[in-house]
């Protein structure tokens, strides 16, 4: 590792650890959750070339299940999150097994249709609270002794989950498995002719992405202490596409930058009142026109050109 690299990671680590003293921690936690969500989505879109339009289903399912089990069954936060993540992964297996049989727009439509079914369930089932949402989820004590009601300890807990999640994605992308995914994305018939069982790889990537999206949703529920219909709404599926494209599809840092940007705009432009949607729209149009590869993608291209 070059000295520059070490310096870069060191700065990043210091920034991440000191951030809650500079920026409001709850906002940071929310941004981290969405960054993880976008990174999980990017694993599928950016590295396996599969555009899922139903990722809200995984985020939302985990959010509701974690919220419900922590609130009503009294599960500890770590168990609640684990349960939500596993459930999202299992749901991902079912969705994936059905959806990967088709490609392109059909794939996107199948995932959208399946996620709308989850939305319907969330509206109808009594435990979700319908349009009132699942409210007042306690944050509880991590491992029984760390009080998560303190924003600072909650932040470090979320940061740990985020680093582990993104680390897993990084390892996946740079493993032989990740290379096969890229091969499938570039040229699927060739990957088949080389003897790879394409469907299995796709399914595994789908399940992994769904589980990580669930991890993000479960964590978000604990941070904000609520799960609501907007978590399972198709708007959310659209938002994660936006975050990924805005930041830069198929780059490691892109979705993270995109997520922080979108969440930041939502939060800080809120003070401007009715202008929020217009300004956000303007910023998106500008980005799409000027940064075709996304912000990080464009920066990387600039870097490569100049050195």
């Amino acid at each position: 590792m070059s000295i520059n690299r070490i310096l870069f990671w060191f700065t990043l680590a210091v920034l991440a650890l000191t951030a809650p003293f500079m920026v409001y921690p709850v906002f940071l936690m929310k941004a981290l959750c969405f960054a993880l969500f976008a990174a999980a989505f990017n694993l599928l879109l950016g590295y396996a070339g599969l555009l899922s339009f139903g990722h809200a289903a995984f985020l939302g399912t985990a959010a509701y299940l974690t919220g419900y089990t922590v609130k009503d069954w009294g599960l500890t936060p770590e168990l609640g999150i684990l349960l939500g993540t596993v459930a999202a992964g299992a749901l991902g297996f079912v969705f994936g097994a059905l959806a990967i049989r088709r490609q392109g727009i059909y794939f996107a439509m199948i995932t959208l249709a399946l996620s709308q079914m989850i939305f319907f369930l969330a509206v109808q089932m009594p435990f979700t609270g319908g349009e009132d949402g699942l409210q007042a989820v306690p944050r509880g004590y991590l491992f029984g002794f760390i009080d998560l009601n303190d924003n600072l300890s909650m932040y470090y807990f979320v940061l740990t989950i985020f680093v582990l999640g993104v680390g897993l994605i990084y390892r996946t992308v740079h493993s032989p498995f990740g290379q096969v995914l890229t091969a499938i994305k570039e040229n699927e018939p060739r990957a088949i002719s080389l003897g790879y069982q394409v469907d299995r790889y796709k399914l595994l990537a789908f399940v992994l992405s769904a589980a990580l999206a669930g991890l993000a949703g479960a964590t978000k529920t604990l941070v904000l202490q609520l799960a609501s219909l907007s978590d399972v709404h198709w708007h959310m599926s659209g938002e994660v596409v936006l975050m990924t494209l805005l930041g830069g599809m198929g780059t490691q840092a892109g979705p993270l930058v995109g997520a922080v940007l979108v969440v930041g705009l939502q939060n800080y432009l809120a003070d401007l009142g009715s202008w929020v949607t217009i300004i956000t729209g303007g910023i998106f149009v500008t980005c799409v026109l000027l940064f075709r590869r996304g912000i990080v993608g464009e920066l990387r291209a600039l870097w490569k050109r100049s050195f």
């Binding site: 709850v26 109808q124 349009e131 007042a136 907007s230």
Partner: protein, 401 residues
């Protein structure tokens, strides 16, 4: 003796000074959090901010000698945006009270944050009766209306007017079903009959088959147990089917004056609805509403009037309590009747519910409307105690049995 009086006076002055210091951070900061750009921006939105500004100005701009500040934000109808914003306001920006709050998921989320931080939240926009039911909070107040009052108020009043047979168009989710149940119980208790009901998906755009069933039932009143766009679509299509002209009446269970404004009188004529406020009810209302109209260029909805009344009463509470600590202010607010054009002697209950009179209104025919916004005939004043859910039936844990 003189000396003693001087000491007394000094002590009094000193205690007065320390009294004023009870205001945290030397400023009373009120925040309006509402939908500024989405579906509910007409009935709440910027108008809510205008109403709060008016309340602060009418109070004199200062309380206990300290400045009153007002800020606002758009929660975009997302509970997570609202919860983040509310936390940030309470933790970092020294906000003392949040008003407005439309959509129930947002209102419940923000009330929960207020409960944890011991700050005041006053809901005017959202209607869920959970706010003062199982999820009630000591510092969370519900000011303007709730779904129970609209349902029961409408049911009661309409049966009294002779509408004793009902058919429901119900949005097929918890909200619609509970509206239907609440109204049905009242109608039956008053000796009326429910001839049937039909569930439509949520959201729906084509109501023709449901309306035909309602028409065929022969019921005198068609109850719309839905909200927002569903209600609007149902009313428009009922008009196209000539249901009102044929003699049946529609009763909207959640309709605002801005909805009627956008539907137009031709479409909405004859619709029965319950509201917490009507601008043209009497001189008091007209005086305030005209001032509001000058600033906002639209007549106030009950949500706007509710925000005004809640902010004003909150400031009175601070003055009486001599502090802005939420748990003390709320006690004083409860001890005083809510005396303004909106509250009219309304009272604040332990579960956070502000009980005030509601009004049964009928939408005028275009020919009877003399000016812009002249939309309603008020047919009945429904006393608050009849309209709102009795405190022991809500399941609020704060209420001592």
């Amino acid at each position: 003796m003189k000396k003693r009086a001087l000491v007394m006076a000094a002590a009094l002055a000193w205690s007065g000074a320390s009294f004023a210091q009870e205001v945290s951070d030397d400023v009373v900061k009120i925040a309006v959090l509402t939908d500024m750009s989405g579906t509910y921006s007409d009935l709440s939105g910027q108008g809510g901010v205008v109403a709060a500004e008016m309340a602060i100005a009418d109070f004199g701009g200062k309380v206990l000698g300290k400045k009153i500040e007002l800020i606002s934000a758009d929660h975009q109808n997302k509970a997570d945006v609202a919860a983040t914003k509310a936390r940030e306001w309470f933790d970092a920006e020294k906000v003392d009270m949040i008003a407005g709050l439309v959509t129930s998921s947002v209102a419940l989320a923000v009330q929960e944050v207020g409960k944890q931080k011991n700050r005041m939240t006053i809901v005017s926009g959202a209607g869920s009766s959970r706010i003062t039911g199982e999820d009630c909070a000591p510092t969370g107040l519900h000011w303007t209306y709730d779904t129970y009052a609209l349902a029961v108020g409408t049911g009661n009043a309409v049966v009294k007017e002779g509408g004793d047979t009902w058919f429901f168009l119900t949005a097929d989710y918890a909200f619609g079903q509970s509206l239907e149940n609440d109204v049905s119980n009242v109608v039956k208790a008053k000796g009326g009959k429910v001839l049937g009901s039909v569930r439509h998906p949520f959201p729906a755009s084509d109501f023709s088959s449901y309306l035909l069933q309602a028409q065929a039932s022969g019921a005198k009143v068609i109850g719309l147990a839905n909200a927002g766009n569903d209600t609007m679509n149902a009313i428009k299509q009922a008009n196209e089917f000539g249901i009102i002209d044929a003699g049946q009446q529609m009763a909207g269970l959640l309709v605002f004056i801005t909805d009627v404004h956008s539907l137009g009188l031709e479409t909405a004529k004859g619709l029965l609805l319950t509201t917490g406020f009507y601008w043209d009810f009497d001189d008091q209302n007209r005086e305030w509403s005209k001032r509001f109209f000058e600033k906002h260029k639209a007549m106030p909805t009950m949500v706007h009037a509710g925000v005004y009344s809640s902010v004003l009463h909150y400031l009175k509470g601070i003055e009486k309590a001599g502090t802005d600590a939420a748990d003390k202010v709320v006690v004083e607010m409860r001890n005083m009747p809510v005396d303004d054009f909106f509250g009219r002697g309304g009272k604040l209950r332990e579960d956070g519910r502000m009980v005030h009179d509601m009004y049964l209104a009928e939408v005028k025919k275009p020919a009877d409307s003399k000016s812009d916004w002249d939309y309603y005939n008020i047919k009945q004043v429904i006393p608050g105690d009849e309209a709102y859910r009795p405190m022991d039936k809500g399941g609020c844990p704060l209420v001592k049995k």
